[in-house]
Amino acid sequence: MNESIEDLFDRYVDRLVSGDGVSSCAVDEADLTEMLGPLLHTGELVAHQLRTVEPSPQFRMAARIRMRNLFFAKLARRDSRPNFLFVWWQQRWATAMATAMVVCLASLGVLAASFNALPSGFFYPVKVTTEQMRLAVTTSEYERAQLRLEYAERRLSEMTSMADRGDSATAVLLAGEATRLIIQTATSTAIGLSDGGSGYSVLAPDSTSVAVAPIVLLNADRAEALLVLEAALASAPEELKPSIERLMGELAREFDATIAHLETTAAS
């Protein structure tokens, strides 16, 4: 016999790991069958049990959005140096830093200047960290939901502006951030969409990859965000409904403008 027992066993483990059963492992020699058969059954049991462990669809979706944002943040940082300011705010210490910065700069009118800042702008970190601070100090879940909807609207407006400037990577990043804010709002206790039955979780996009062509991603975000908002509208308290309806209108308009712009750029 040329092949050792460990080699032979390994070949069968390849099959077990890829999902085949012991029955696919036809061992030729009778003495080997007696020796390997019980071990293959143990291997099959181990492989089968461990294969049942899977990430939840909600985690898969959230991780995909986060990864996509990181990917496009890296692209944006690499392609356009000023954009490094955009990702700066995502770091955990941003809120603490911003507190000191906002206090120092408020007297200089920087806050007002930052209101219309874009991700490529110098004052953008001030704008976003001010938003984070407002969220942090707001105790009412209902008001936090209002704020998140407002911020999602801002991200969408920024997305269109960045697409106008030809920065598709940052536009995609902003679309992802707007979608994240919308999902966060919809699943907050103010609206209370659970992951079951709300509709959006079934979108856990196995077919939507983490980072594909910008237009594909924007279309996926548009569909996903609208679906979540529709579900949110059905469950939201009356006070939040006007904000959600307005955001739905804005969302469709901003996404359409951005996608149209990128298509024109791609065609030319």
Partner: protein, 192 residues
């Protein structure tokens, strides 16, 4: 299938993967996406079966891929399969986490996520019980056998990938795998 055919297939698969990794390192979204999708579930599974905690496994899975994105440009091929490199990162992240938390790997998990089509609570409980028995028994193997079984059966790595990830020869990995399953068989015998 002869060994030379396997070798040719391995070379073809590796050269395709090499191209994918090179494109991902240059910022090709499709390539990175493919690597991510192909490996996400198995990295999660590897971490979960090691840690036995859903929240920690989720956090670490995200950290692993964030690290991959950060350092993929510095990935040196040198005949090391991408999966081996990826699981070294996953392993190191997990060790760092365990050290930081100053705790030992859990043999018993407090929660599980199972891919069951039938959401019957009794079925879920039964599956959880079976999974925990398997995890518990794997936890009793020698560290080297355990690592091989996690990577081979949990993460679904090939013997070559496991060998490369652990810095051992394929022969050693095969022996550890064989002896590990023999030991598991004995540990699980009453249940089999």
């Amino acid at each position: 299938m002869g060994w030379h055919v396997c070798l040719i297939i391995d070379i073809l698969v590796m050269s395709e993967e090499q191209d994918l990794v090179a494109r991902a390192a240059r910022g090709d979204a499709d390539a990175f996406s493919k690597l991510y999708e192909e490996n996400f579930d198995r990295v999660y599974r590897y971490l979960y079966v090691r840690l036995g905690n859903e929240a920690e496994s989720e956090d670490l899975t995200q950290e692993v891929f964030a690290k991959v994105l950060e350092v993929i440009g510095s990935f040196q091929w040198r005949d090391v399969p991408f999966a081996s490199w990826l699981f070294r990162i996953a392993h190191n992240k997990m060790i760092d986490h365990i050290r930081k938390e100053k705790r030992v790997e859990r043999v018993d998990s407090d929660e599980t996520v199972l891919s069951l089509d039938d959401p019957d609570p009794a079925d879920i409980a039964e599956h959880n019980l079976q999974l925990e028995k398997v995890r518990h028994n794997i936890g009793k193997l020698s560290p080297a056998q355990r690592e091989v079984i996690w990577l081979r059966f949990g993460a679904g790595l090939t013997t070559t990938e496991v060998a490369s990830a652990l810095g051992k020869s394929t022969g050693t990995v095969k022996a550890l795998q064989y002896n590990g399953i023999v030991a598991l068989r004995k540990l699980m015998e009453p249940a089999l």
